[in-house]
């Protein structure tokens, strides 16, 4: 299965600023996803990161707030823009690859605190 390196593992940021989270995979993967997990909650899918094209966002998430890049099959970034305390969450990268076991692998997450 794929191995994911997610950076940073945690950060404390000032409101109004932006943070870019990186997701590096040790092999080429078909699909990459970004999730948010608010305190005490389950994971919510933010978007699918598409290689070479604009990400596909889920309802309630917009590109201006969460711009995503995926320049190749092993790397993606998620930016949390103009942060507010409500953005304090864990952000997770996930990958899917057909025929793999498991089909889905998750990064260790980025714990973001906005003050």
């Amino acid at each position: 299965s794929a191995v994911i390196s997610q950076k940073p593992s945690r950060d404390i940021c000032q409101r109004g600023t932006s943070l870019t989270i990186q997701c590096q995979v040790d092999s080429q993967v078909t699909m990459m996803f970004w999730y948010r997990q608010q305190p005490g909650q389950s994971l919510t899918l933010i978007a699918t990161a598409n290689q070479g094209s604009e990400a596909t966002y889920e309802s309630g998430f917009v590109i201006d707030k969460f711009p995503i890049s995926r320049p190749n099959l092993t790397f993606s970034t998620l930016t949390v823009s103009n942060m507010s305390p409500e953005d304090s969450s864990i952000y997770l990268c996930s990958v899917w690859d057909a025929g793999d076991t498991p089909l889905y692998t998750f990064g260790s997450g980025t714990r973001l605190t906005v003050v």
């Binding site: 699909m31 389950s42 919510t44 864990i90 057909a98 498991p102 089909l103 692998t105 998750f106």
Partner: protein
């Protein structure tokens, strides 16, 4: 996308076998069933994946009936370190969407 339903919480004692059942009535033909474990402040960790019948690995067993509308994760002889949230997820075998939708998961509390 198949929706899953699990118990919100379960309690057990060390050394007992724990069975967590997940309902997924509208599972698609090509969907797999995968269970993950999550500890606080960590990403979900893969436990087991199956398509039908029974799958067993070194940490768990997964039982899937013929109609595949439910599945049961079995954890033999749990320990305190098995206290975590367990997610049942369905999907992912086809390339058209591939995305997973998380339910609320089951919080397992193992007591001494």
């Amino acid at each position: 996308l198949a929706k899953t339903t699990q118990p919100i919480s379960m309690d057990s004692y060390e050394g007992q076998e724990v069975n967590i059942t997940c309902s997924h009535n509208n599972i698609a033909t090509n969907d797999y069933i995968t269970w993950y474990q999550q500890f606080p402040s960590q990403g979900p960790r893969f436990i087991i994946q199956g398509y039908k019948t029974k799958v067993t690995n070194e940490v768990a067993s997964l039982f899937i009936p013929a109609d595949r509308k439910s599945s049961t994760l079995s954890l033999p002889r749990v320990s305190l370190s098995d206290t975590a949230v367990y997610y049942c997820l369905v999907g992912g075998s086809s390339g058209n969407t591939g995305k997973l939708i998380f339910g609320q998961g089951t919080t397992l509390q193992v007591k001494p």
